[in-house]
Amino acid sequence: MPDSMMTTAASLRHSPFDPLHLAVRTQDGLQGAGIGLIPRDFRGLVTLRVDLDREPTARQAVTDATGLDLPTAPNTAASQDRLSVLWLGPDEWLFVVDDPAPDAGADLQTKLTGLLEGVFAQVVDVSGAQAAIGVTGPDAREVLERAVPLDMHPRSFQPGQVKHTLFGRHTGVSLHLKDDQPTLDLYCRRSFTGYVWRYLEDCAKGAETTLAVLADR
């Protein structure tokens, strides 16, 4: 082995985007680019599975723990401050803590698990299992319509909605539309980060637009 590989890591943590060696733009904004991709390096992610009909106390417990009411309308999300909760299915949600602290996910998991004591539910920290990519810019919809078969038009996809679909040919993603800029967060399985990122770059090329890599926040 070459010696260089034996040296200790510069940091204890590596985001899913580290291996992509992205040239993140330092100045603010799109600067004329049609689409901006934002590597959201670290996030706290926690899944919750519970049947609200079977466990009537769960909803209040979640509100107590997070301040958020679980969205029950399919394909919707609720957000407050730096916490969002995404509807994934009739008995499944994903909490997103917009906080890069290493324990952001684990802390929320502990809190939820504690408040759901005695309730048939599953709370799992999946912070490491998924990657989040912010997508923004005037051509964001045009670019995404090359990667996912969803209708991205504002008439059928409104801020506050979250949709789950096939990306490219190989993997599933969740898309959370946050505002009508539009700004979206795309969630994919961690191991597919490179595929998804390169695919989006190629989609931007196909859409004949320019892409910028923007810093998170």
Partner: protein, 1001 residues
């Protein structure tokens, strides 16, 4: 380079922008706005290629998608495109086009010798001639393909890129002629999201080729005004150069947009073509109509073209197809073309009209214009092989089935032929819409849509311009309304003429001097070289169904899809069988409407994006370490880590030995992991695994075997009890997704009463397996967990920190050696790995890949699901029946009790030792007990895994052998291709440390 046939006073080409191009290496000039076909005609060129089967000289027949003859090779080298219709290809500067199926060229084609043997190539000649001997077909096929094929596919990688996208709309309008534009207009006014696509660079469709007026002004003014309004609607997408080619279920529609095909310099940053996958709420088909040629003798001679095409060349492109024209028609409408040609200065030598009486509004105008009409005449013969020189007209007998009386020869340099019109129902038919035969126009028209679609204009049999506009306005409004948008006032229909093309006479075969099939050919399908005689032969041979006739003769097949031939073929069959056309039926039109490049189909899913690669958090390290990678599902896993020029064999030997001698490290991140929680979790595990789980306490782990309902091994792995009612299940790397789906299905459909939740956590963790006698020493240096055998026994796990980060360490072993599997948060994976590598230096830590993992586990007789098993192997076959609990039920248990499952002669899992310790068996090699001189021999099993082991100092293998569990010590043979035979002894499959002392150390 003079364009002798260019008209200066008409046409839409830009005379200010000359364009130079080459055809078969010779330079010519055209103008911007030309197609290759119009530019060739401007230069007096009709002969462009040779036909598919007979190598007959062929010219330009049409002016659009219907062209069956003028298929050209565009450019050469990696960008070349074969079989491009010259009538659709826009001309650009420096364009190089060549003829196909003609060598050395269309003028002197060696393959033309086929014409002399035409009698040998009747309908179905493939089936008749090349049937014997069957073995020789691959050879025949090669020769036929070379002789018959059309253009040549590129052989080099494609330098261009292609875009592919999805789109959704409320109303898709296919076709930008008068009906399509009108439909888009009313749909757009409602606020609906509209996609309007047309294959041409310019919108207007038939109006581009016409000289008609709308509201008293040139029709093109209306086109412009309509486009201007459409562009003002923000929800309208206007797609020129975009052909709608496929119509599938649920209004799922494919479009192909050309982005750079028409450009001289192709910009690097623009895709060559774009495939649109559109989901439309409602569809308006405004695809127009295609004129059909008349079937007369030698009607394929260069210079013979559709009357509508001739009109198009004159009016749209400002090109005279010739100076002296003979019109051959069966209908009134064709005289409109003659009048336009005459107006452009073309002499109309005569009009051969097969109708008993030449009547109708255009006919009358033609008479007034002094055009000589020969009513009730047929075509006796055509003079001129490479270019029509004259046509011989002769009166028809009363029944129209033969000629009679005196013939007269009319000199001409081109012929305009019209046999009526076919509504372009291809897309409608693709959508499975039902067609209806309209006897008056002798054409199939849309009857009932089965999807949310409607047709407008000529494609539904509305023939006048005003009618088309009216149709379009109504269809657009109706479609928008059906998509949920408010009613829009269509307003008054613009004023335009409203002429059809009737009256007509349906004479499906125009008789010649000789009966059909003798001297000369009556072509029906030009592209596939099918004649009227071929159709008649097929019927004589008993092919009565039109579907059989189609396949036997190949009429209407391939890229042409019967655009000009379909109804003519039906008419001939109908006449021969004495049945009306509706009873003959019609064949199915298939997508694509016109050919689509493979580049467009592939889109961006090529090269690096063809297959997604899944990477572990340590992947970059493996790459830097020079690992060779293996595909496991979509994962890229390190296969082995060669040092310098080391071969795979040497690397694997080194890694295997180093691990057993000291310590090795494997990236085991890809293992599937499922978090299992709930009060009924243990009951759930009991049902999905063959073995029992009730005694598993928190902190402990157990190997489990999972079967399908058929009793066959489906997956295996270790499951740990994290705490009460909370388990972490491991699956195989490749099986993770299937296992989760399998378990969820049972929970949701079979056992909804079980209170269990599953969540995949495969990617939450990064995992390194440390294996070898020094694993404990190394790990102890970087962890706060007590690793002593007493505190941390085999098949348990502990939580603590490793390399300063939180970790869960399992003491489990797939290598058969002392082993710890360290799981950390995926973000910490690389750090953990690098720390272990760094600290492990003093133990000569060796990273090993999947191949060494396979060797090590095989030495221990550990199976790999998918390698030792193939979906037909039970736990009993594997000698793992002890893992099948008799105290409980589990998925697959009942199947295991079937008599066949208990058959002692089933293939069973064994070890194999080749007699020669240097000989490594091939995986997949068949095994026999009784050796014969040559196959066939009775096979008793096969080799499933085989390696050279540095630890055993010899080769060994795993195998499945009939009754093998009771054959230890017996000989089997592996006869190999080439005559070599490898003798082996059946053994117990555990070769290394059979007592498991190292494992538990």
């Amino acid at each position: 380079m003079a364009q002798t046939y260019r008209l200066q006073d008409r046409g839409r080409v830009d005379l200010e922008r000359p364009i130079d191009f080459t055809f078969n290496g010779k330079r010519y000039r055209g103008y911007a706005g030309d197609t290759v076909a119009s530019a060739l005609l401007a230069n007096g060129i009709h002969l462009v290629g040779r036909s598919f089967k007979y190598h007959r000289p062929r010219g330009i027949l049409g002016a659009g998608a219907e062209e069956p003859n003028a298929l050209l090779q565009v450019e050469s080298g990696p960008r070349t495109l074969p079989n491009v219709r010259a009538t659709q290809a826009e001309l650009y500067d420096g364009m190089a086009v060549t003829s196909v199926n003609a060598w050395p060229g269309p003028d002197t084609d060696v393959g033309a010798v086929n014409q002399l043997f035409a009698k040998l190539f009747p309908a179905g000649f493939y089936y008749k001639t090349f049937m014997w001997p069957g073995k020789a077909w691959p050879y025949y096929e090669k020769v036929i393909r070379h002789a018959a094929g059309l253009g040549k596919a590129p052989t080099d990688p494609d330098p261009d890129f292609y875009d592919k996208r999805y789109a959704h709309c409320d109303v898709l309008v296919a076709g930008g002629g008068p009906a399509g534009l009108a439909a888009a207009l009313t749909a757009a006014r409602s606020g609906a999201r509209v996609v309007l696509a047309d294959e041409n660079p310019e919108f207007g469709g038939s109006l581009l080729s016409a000289r008609e007026t709308i509201d008293g002004k040139p029709a093109i003014d209306w086109v412009q005004a309509t486009l201007d309004e459409l562009r003002g609607h923000p929800e309208v997408r206007i797609l020129p150069r975009t052909i709608v080619f496929g119509y599938y279920d649920h209004n799922w529609i494919d479009l192909l947009e050309s982005r750079t095909d028409h450009l001289s310099r192709k910009p690097d940053d623009r895709p060559r073509q774009r495939m649109w996958k559109v989901r439309a709420q409602e569809v308006v088909l405004a695809t127009g109509a295609i004129e059909r040629p008349l079937v007369f003798v030698d009607n394929d001679r260069p210079g013979i073209m559709l009357a509508s095409a001739a009109r198009s060349y004159v009016n749209r492109y400002g090109v005279k197809p010739g100076n002296r024209c003979v019109l051959v028609t069966n209908n009134d409408g064709a005289y409109q073309a003659a009048l336009d040609m005459q107006d452009a200065g073309i002499e109309i030598a005569a009009a051969i009209d097969v109708r008993a009486e030449a009547t109708g509004p255009f006919t009358e105008r033609a008479k007034q214009a002094g055009i000589r009409i020969l009513p009730n005449h047929g075509v006796a013969a055509v003079d001129g092989a490479k270019r029509v020189r004259a046509i011989k007209a002769q009166p028809l007998a009363a029944d129209g089935e033969r000629l009679t009386g005196a013939s007269r020869k009319i000199a001409c340099d081109f012929v305009a032929s019209s046999g009526g019109w076919n509504p372009t129902v291809h897309l409608f038919s693709q959508s499975r819409g039902k067609l209806r035969f309209d006897a008056e126009t002798a054409a199939f028209v849309p009857d009932r849509s089965v999807q949310r679609a409607r047709s407008a204009g000529c494609c539904q049999g509305t023939w006048g311009l005003m009618g088309c506009l009216k149709d379009g306005l109504a269809a657009g409004a109706e479609a928008a309304k059906a998509a949920g948008f408010p009613d829009t006032k269509a307003g008054s229909t613009p004023k335009a003429s409203d002429d059809g093309f009737l009256p007509a006479r349906w004479l499906w075969t125009v008789p010649g001097e000789q009966p059909v099939g003798h001297k000369g050919k009556h072509f029906v399908d030009y592209q596939n070289d099918v004649t009227a005689a071929d159709l008649l032969l097929a019927i004589r041979e008993g092919y009565t169904s039109i579907e059989h006739v189609k396949r036997y003769t190949t009429t209407g097949m391939a890229t042409d899809q019967g655009k000009t031939s379909n109804v003519n073929a039906l008419g001939i069959v109908s006449q021969a069988r004495g049945l009306p056309i509706p009873e003959i039926g019609t064949t199915t039109f298939r997508p694509p409407y016109t050919p689509v490049t493979f580049g467009a189909w592939g889109g961006r899913d090529v090269g690096d994006l063809f297959d997604a690669e899944r990477h572990s958090p340590m992947h970059a390290w493996h790459v830097r370490a020079g690992a060779a990678f293996e595909n496991v599902g979509l994962w890229k896993r390190p296969w082995y880590y060669p040092i310098g020029n080391e071969s795979m064999h040497d690397a694997v030997q080194r890694e295997s030995k180093a691990t057993r001698d000291s310590v090795g490290i494997l990236d085991a991140t890809t293992l599937g992991r499922i978090d299992v929680q709930g009060p009924d979790a243990v009951e759930f595990l009991n049902r999905v695994y063959t073995n029992g789980w009730k005694t598993l306490k928190p902190g402990m782990a157990r190997y489990g075997l999972m079967l399908g309902e058929d009793g066959m091994v489906m997956d295996d792995g270790v499951t740990a009890c994290l705490r009460e009612n909370h388990y972490l299940m491991h699956t195989t790397s490749g099986g993770a997704g299937d296992v989760l789906a399998h378990l969820e299905e049972y929970l949701q459909t079979e056992w909804p009463e079980l209170r269990v939740y599953l969540t995949t956590v495969t990617e939450q963790y990064a995992t390194a397996a440390l294996a070898g006698p020094n694993a404990r020493k190394l790990l102890q240096e970087v962890t706060d967990i007590d690793l002593s055998p007493e505190a941390f026994p085999f098949m348990t796990f502990r939580e603590g920190t490793v390399a300063g980060v939180p970790a869960r360490v399992f003491r489990i072993s797939f290598s058969g050696d002392l082993s710890f599997e360290i799981n950390v948060h995926a973000d910490h994976g690389l750090h953990m790995w690098q720390t272990l590598m760094s600290v492990g230096e003093k133990y000569d830590i060796t990273p090993y890949g999947t191949e060494t993992m396979h060797v090590l586990r095989a030495e221990k007789g550990f199976i790999i699901v998918g390698q030792e098993t193939d979906g037909t192997v039970t736990p009993i076959d594997l000698g793992m029946d002890k893992l099948c609990s008799s105290k409980k039920d589990f998925i697959g248990k009942r199947s295991l009790a079937r008599p066949d499952m208990l058959d002692p002669q089933r293939k069973q899992f064994v070890g194999l030792l080749p007699d020669d310790p240097e000989e490594v068996l091939e995986e997949g090699a068949q095994l026999v007990e009784v050796l014969k001189d040559a196959p066939p021999m009775d096979m008793v099993g096969h080799v499933s895994s085989s390696y050279m082991s540095p630890n055993l100092g010899r080769s060994f293998a795993l195998a499945l052998v009939e009754g093998g569990l009771h054959k230890h010590g017996q000989k089997v043979f592996a006869p190999m291709p080439g005559g070599k035979t490898i003798a082996c002894t059946i053994t117990n499959p555990v070769f290394f440390d059979p007592e498991g002392e190292r494992l538990r150390a």
